[in-house]
């Protein structure tokens, strides 16, 4: 029997599927980890659910997925057709006239839709919204017939200036839907009525590219769930960190591009908030990359767009995640000029580090951690390998780094770690200092398996206040699925001058968009405490092309928004002064875009459900000592079973805390304590 109060978060990763179960009534919390089945993710998904409860009993499932991300990165989306304005067939391929690298002129670009799949139909809208040539139904039907005959599985319609007036796109959409054999038809104004044809076309094209893939994936999952009697609701985490219905995910799958990582950031933010840390930097160290994200005042920063790969731009609001090429598998080398570098080349997870003995002979960051005793060679994370080959790792470091630089293998390993730490520190500076935040007020929250290895060093390098290691770093994303609010974003180009602003008319437009977004959130069948509608304007001084995001201190109340020119001006000047050192009095100010978000706030998740058992003690958690290298020498480091530590336990570095899916390195000079949620708080002594 379905228990409405039960909720499962499911994060399907490349290697493992992590699940987190919570019963809102009994406050029962359980986790499960099962191998992922690449290509048939439903198998692991269902298997994991069954470990938690009978599927028919579950009230809701929220899923963070990488199926969209992978299809984009591996170029495994559908065959798509594009219908566009005369003269603009090549928008996707013209890009913004960029090139892959600043230095070096090699490399070319294949757009996701080959040129013969991009058709022009007579139509034209001018920049002021005037329809110069109306689109004809027959032309759309003919274009569709041609594309269908060529085997197109999804269709994207993108007309010039559709942001200013979508009438032609709407007419084309209606005509196309009538003849297209499936539901995979979308138009640019539906997803992104914002100026800039390349970004809009790229976004809608990538959306079409993902539609059949994501629809088939969700279909398989839904069939499997139905087969097991699931009668609850099923939601997907979006890149903006909010959840949406599967119906919306099918329509706008491009909004799932960063689904999994976004869920992790949301969970880290919630864990931080509960523990009293509103300003955090999340740090996720994977095999090939290090992802950081900034959460200030409890709110994750959103970016307006991201580039998946050269020429593949997705412009929808998404959690701002900065990625650098420094992961556990990153290869260390000394270049011709004698400089030690780590990455961007990576051995990934296959063949992986030298110590995995799967064929790689060049030393990686993980090898350095193994050689210095930080990673337990006898108990590798994930449980796939029996033990790690420390000697092979040491020999590789000696040959590739130690000898060229005249360092001992241990000193060379430490150098690798310091250079990698510096790169990670650079990424943290990038998201904090560069955005005007003071890193000394921030707490690092590592998640995933590797982040906690380096978190102590990051505190020292960047000058962070502290670090908070969640009790279960490996399931942070699954936890985020449970915690995430429901969210819907809308953007529209408005192009209004601030001087003499018709505030009432803008307010009416905001109210209308706000109501629409609120209705979408209200329709999702997940319990919410309230729905907030927030507004932000993209503004600039007239003549600038970039804008600053200006959050407005107004909200939607009883279907109305109240707004004045003065309120908007004050908000603009605050935001501009924060971004740059100089205001420019006397230059007219322009409002370019209106951004609206409706957020259905979920009931607060009580993280105390994760707390250690009352009978835990430091003594039972202690696992003896091991030699670990820090700051130029070997130290006897205490080893602990992290999950067996009680609340308020205090540990002094050097120490290593181990758990099934993560290793925490506590450098000398750092201390750690367990808070009431089971988090580990690391600070300078």
């Amino acid at each position: 029997m379905t228990k409405l109060s039960t909720l499962v978060g499911v994060d399907v990763g490349g290697t493992f599927t992590d699940l987190a179960f919570f019963d809102e009534k009994t406050r029962a919390f359980r986790t499960a980890k099962v191998p992922s089945n690449r290509g048939d993710e439903a198998v692991g998904f269902i298997e994991g659910l069954k470990r938690l409860d009978a599927i028919a009993n579950l009230g809701a499932i929220v899923h963070g997925t990488t199926v969209g991300t992978n299809a984009l990165l591996e170029r495994k989306g559908a065959k798509i057709g594009i219908i566009t304005t005369p003269g603009f067939r090549d928008t996707l391929e013209m890009r913004r006239r960029d090139r892959p690298n600043t230095w070096g002129l090699w490399g070319d670009f294949e757009p996701i839709a080959s040129r013969e799949f991009r058709l022009e139909v007579p139509e034209r809208t001018l920049a002021d919204g005037t329809i110069r040539v109306a689109v004809q139904k027959a032309d759309i039907e003919a274009a569709c017939a041609k594309l269908i005959a060529m085997g197109a599985e999804a269709l994207a319609i993108g007309f010039i200036n559709a942001y200013a007036n979508p009438a032609n796109e709407r007419a084309a959409l209606e005509a196309a839907r009538a003849v297209w054999p499936n539901a995979h038809v979308s138009a640019s104004h539906e997803l992104l009525p914002e100026i800039r044809e390349f970004e809009r076309t790229s976004t809608i094209a990538l959306n079409a590219y993902l539609q059949p893939v994501v629809a088939s994936y969700l279909g398989k999952l839904e069939d499997a769930l139905a087969g097991d009697g699931f009668a609850g609701s099923f939601h997907i985490v979006q890149s903006n960190g909010g959840v949406m219905s599967t119906a919306n995910a099918r329509k706008f799958p491009v909004r799932t591009a960063l689904s999994g990582p976004a869920a992790g950031v949301i969970a880290a933010a919630a864990i931080g908030r509960a523990a009293g840390y509103e300003d955090i930097v999340t740090a996720d160290l994977g095999g090939t990359s290090f992802d950081v994200s900034l959460v200030a005042g409890g709110e994750a920063a959103l970016a307006a767009q991201t580039t998946i790969d050269f020429g593949m731009v997705v412009r929808t609001p998404m959690i701002e995640i900065t990625t650098i090429g420094a992961g556990g598998g990153s290869i260390a080398h000394v270049d011709k000029g004698g400089l030690l570098a780590v990455g961007p080349e990576s051995a990934g997870s296959r063949p992986g580090p030298v110590a995995y003995a799967q064929g790689n002979t060049r030393p990686t960051l993980t090898d350095a951690n193994i050689v210095l005793g930080r990673i337990n060679a006898e108990k590798p994370i994930g449980g796939k390998l029996a033990r790690l080959d420390v000697e092979a790792a040491r020999a590789a470091i000696d040959a590739h780094i130690g000898e060229p630089l005249g360092l001992s293998p241990e000193a060379a390993a430490e150098a690798i770690i310091r250079v990698a730490n510096a790169k990670m520190a650079g990424a943290i500076r990038l998201v904090s200092i560069e955005r005007g935040h003071d890193p000394t007020k921030f707490t690092a929250v590592p998640f995933g398996g590797g982040g906690a290895l380096h978190v102590g060093a990051l505190i020292k390098d960047v000058g962070l206040k502290s670090a908070l290691v969640p009790r279960y770093p490996g399931i942070t994303s699954a936890l985020g699925c449970i915690i995430a609010d429901i969210r819907h974003d809308e953007v529209a180009t408005v192009n209004l001058m601030l001087d003499g602003l018709d505030a009432a008319s803008l307010a009416a437009r905001m109210a209308e968009t706000g109501e629409k977004a609120r209705a979408i959130v209200a329709a999702a069948s997940l319990q919410v405490e309230r729905i907030d509608v927030v507004f932000e304007l993209d503004m600039h001084y007239q003549g600038q092309t970039h804008t600053v995001g200006v959050p407005l201190p107004v909200t939607l109340e009883a279907g109305k928004v109240s707004l004045s020119e003065a309120v908007v001006r004050a908000a603009f000047e605050t935001a501009y002064a924060k971004a740059f050192s100089r205001l420019l009095p006397g230059i007219p100010v322009k409002i370019v875009n209106l951004r609206t978000a409706a957020i259905g706030r979920r009931p607060a998740f009580d993280l105390a459900a994760l707390a250690p058992a009352a009978d835990a003690s430091i003594e039972t958690a202690a696992r003896g000592y091991r030699k670990v290298w820090f700051d130029g020498g070997w130290h006897e480091a205490a080893i602990y079973d992290r999950l067996a530590l009680p609340i308020d336990a205090k540990i002094t570095g050097p120490a290593i805390l181990e758990q099934a899916d993560a290793t925490i390195v506590l450098d000398p000079g750092l201390g750690a304590r367990v808070d009431r949620f089971g988090n580990l708080i690391v600070e300078r002594l």
Binding site: W103, L105, A127, D335, F580, I587
Partner: protein, 580 residues
């Protein structure tokens, strides 16, 4: 001062952190600039320069490549003017003198001393392309200038700030000498934002590591760049490699201009001798010697990509550039079209290096910026100026076909979207796409150029001027590859289509409402023998409508129909016959 020891790890860390600050300065200006040539096209650069020599110490990774080479000369001109002790805390110099380490008048440099404990530690500098600085043609690209006075106003290095106080008189002079005072004022503030930020960040970093350690790291970075460059040169076979290419004309005199290079490799040193090049010319395609050196730097950096961007990499290289040639001019020779000349120089360096090392041979990129200005008045009398640069194809190379519709090697510019241009100016683009048949044939063909066509919507019509190149000398192929297509420009008149007498340079074209202009940019040159290109790859371009079956037959010896079906047998026979 004792030299602190610099361990390899601290060096690696500081290298990254110093670059990050310069990157951040770049980003600050892009985001706060007014004119799209900085904000979108990133025609700007920031860095840290040596206190006494002006040599480049650190530069951002995203800065306009040509400035990376030129900025050292600009800082040096400030040092030369004020002497070793002439700068005080809070001073900021401003200038655009193209003969004193400049490029052309639009590029405004701001140079500020970074003082540590009352002593000069290094210089911070910012350069950005301002939209208009007076002169005969809006935007400055006057293809008919014979003196720099017709290109705009020239500002020598002067103090814009004295001890932190802005000299409003100078601002007033600048504002009075431009058609777009607001835009320039916005860009100036953007550059000041970047300098403020850089100053703050560098101080914090030096405080953290100590002056001596940072100084040692900067010196080590230069030494490393030098070592890498020497290693790269040493790997090339000794010898003299000559290459030449041409500019259509100077816009005034319709005669070709030659850029001839004799490149000598001797051990780990290189000589770039341009002595055989044409003498100074009347029109605006001259360049100053500092600009010429910067162009060579850009070319080398595109080939030896791993060499860091600092002055060390130029130490093993000698330049022979005559002051009587059009590559080493002084005031008041016109230089507004400098981009065309340096693009050709870069191609010539690629061409010579291709002979020295075929494994790195890169065919010529499209090689012109096509500076197009379309200007008029709105019905309310307000003036509008659409000014932009346009893209083309890159050259085929050992790794891949050339990139379609790319920016020039001297920049990392992105192009404003058509919708932004249509929203800002009374024009409508009727075409904005790839240009079929424009890529140089080759085993790896060049990238395709582009077609841009626009119709004037404003009642009062518009005046058009263009400064472009490659109208007569196409982007060359290498290793047996064929050249790309020539640059073409047409405008509509009541008597049909017209094109410029000087190939790609024209001013004073009058359009009435509803008339069109059409610019077709060159594709890149091809790499390798086109007859060895995979027939499927040729067929793919045919299916895509980028290559006709006739051209496929003629250039690639592939028999393919319009649907992309290859006649394998006939192709093999044709190719065998041609080889025989």
């Amino acid at each position: 001062m004792t030299t602190p020891t610099l361990d390899p790890v601290t060096f690696a860390i500081l290298t990254g952190r110093l670059e990050q600050i310069a990157d951040e300065m770049d980003a600050t200006l892009y985001r706060s600039a007014f004119n799209p040539i900085i904000a979108e096209a990133r025609d700007a650069c920031h860095g840290l320069y040596h206190a006494t020599t002006g040599a480049t110490l650190v530069q951002g990774q995203r800065g306009l490549p040509i400035f990376v080479g030129a900025m050292a000369f600009a800082v040096k001109s400030v040092i030369d003017k004020v002497g070793p002790d002439g700068a005080e805390d809070g001073d900021t110099f401003i200038f655009n003198d193209p003969y004193a380490g400049g490029t052309h008048l639009n590029d405004f440099r701001l140079v500020r001393p970074l003082m540590r404990g009352g002593k000069l530690f290094a210089w911070l500098a910012s350069v950005g392309h301002w939209l208009d600085i007076g002169g005969n043609v809006p935007g400055g690209y006057n293809p008919q200038a014979v003196e720099s006075f017709q290109e705009g106003v020239l500002i020598p290095p002067v103090k814009l700030f004295r001890k932190g106080v802005i000299q409003q008189d100078i601002v007033d002079i600048l504002q009075a000498n431009t058609r777009v005072p607001r835009s320039n004022w916005g860009d100036l503030n953007g550059q000041l934002n970047a300098l403020d930020l850089g100053e703050k960040r560098f101080h914090a970093l030096i405080d953290e590591y100590g002056d001596g350690v940072v100084e040692a790291a900067l010196e080590a970075a230069s030494a490393r760049a030098e070592a890498l460059m020497r290693a790269n040169i040493a790997a090339l076979p000794d010898g003299v490699y000559s290459f030449e290419d041409y500019l259509d004309n100077d816009g005034i005199v319709d005669e070709k201009l030659t850029i001839a290079l004799d490149l000598t490799i001797a051990g780990e040193t290189m000589v770039l001798d341009f002595s055989r090049s044409s003498p100074a010319c009347k029109g605006p395609v001259n360049i100053a010697k500092s600009t010429a050196v910067a162009a060579c730097y850009v070319a080398l950096k595109h080939v030896f990509t791993e060499v860091p961007a600092n002055a060390g990499c130029l130490r093993p290289i000698t330049f022979e550039i005559s002051e009587t040639s059009f590559l080493g001019v002084s005031a008041p020779r016109p230089v507004a079209g400098y981009t065309e000349t340096i693009l050709r120089m870069i191609g010539v360096v690629f061409g010579a290096l291709a002979k020295a090392d075929p494994s790195r041979a890169t065919a010529a990129p499209f090689g012109t910026i096509n500076a197009l200005s379309v200007a008029g008045h709105r019905s309310n009398g307000e003036r509008w100026v659409l000014f932009s640069f346009f893209g083309g194809g890159l050259g085929g190379n050992p790794a891949s076909d050339g990139l379609n519709h790319a920016n020039n090697p001297i920049s990392t510019a992105t192009m404003p979207p058509a919708e932004i241009l249509e929203a800002s100016y009374p024009v409508m683009f009727t075409e904005w796409g790839l240009r079929p048949e424009s890529a140089g044939a080759g085993a790896h063909r060049g990238g395709f150029g582009a077609v841009y066509a626009l119709e004037v919507l404003s009642e009062g019509g518009a005046d058009v001027s263009l400064l472009g190149e490659r109208g007569r000398y196409a982007p060359f192929g290498v290793a047996g590859g064929a050249p790309g297509a020539l640059n073409l420009f047409h405008w509509e008149t009541d008597d049909g289509l017209k094109s410029p007498a000087m190939a790609s340079k024209v001013t004073g074209v009058k359009l009435t409402q509803g008339q069109e202009i059409r610019l077709q940019s060159p594709g890149g040159g091809g790499w390798g023998d086109a007859r060895t290109r995979a027939p499927e790859a040729v067929a793919r371009d045919v299916v895509r409508g980028l290559l006709s079956p006739e051209t496929a037959r003629q250039d690639y010896a592939v028999i393919v129909d319009a649907s992309g079906l290859v006649d394998t047998k006939a192709t093999a026979a044709l190719r065998a016959g041609e080889a025989a």
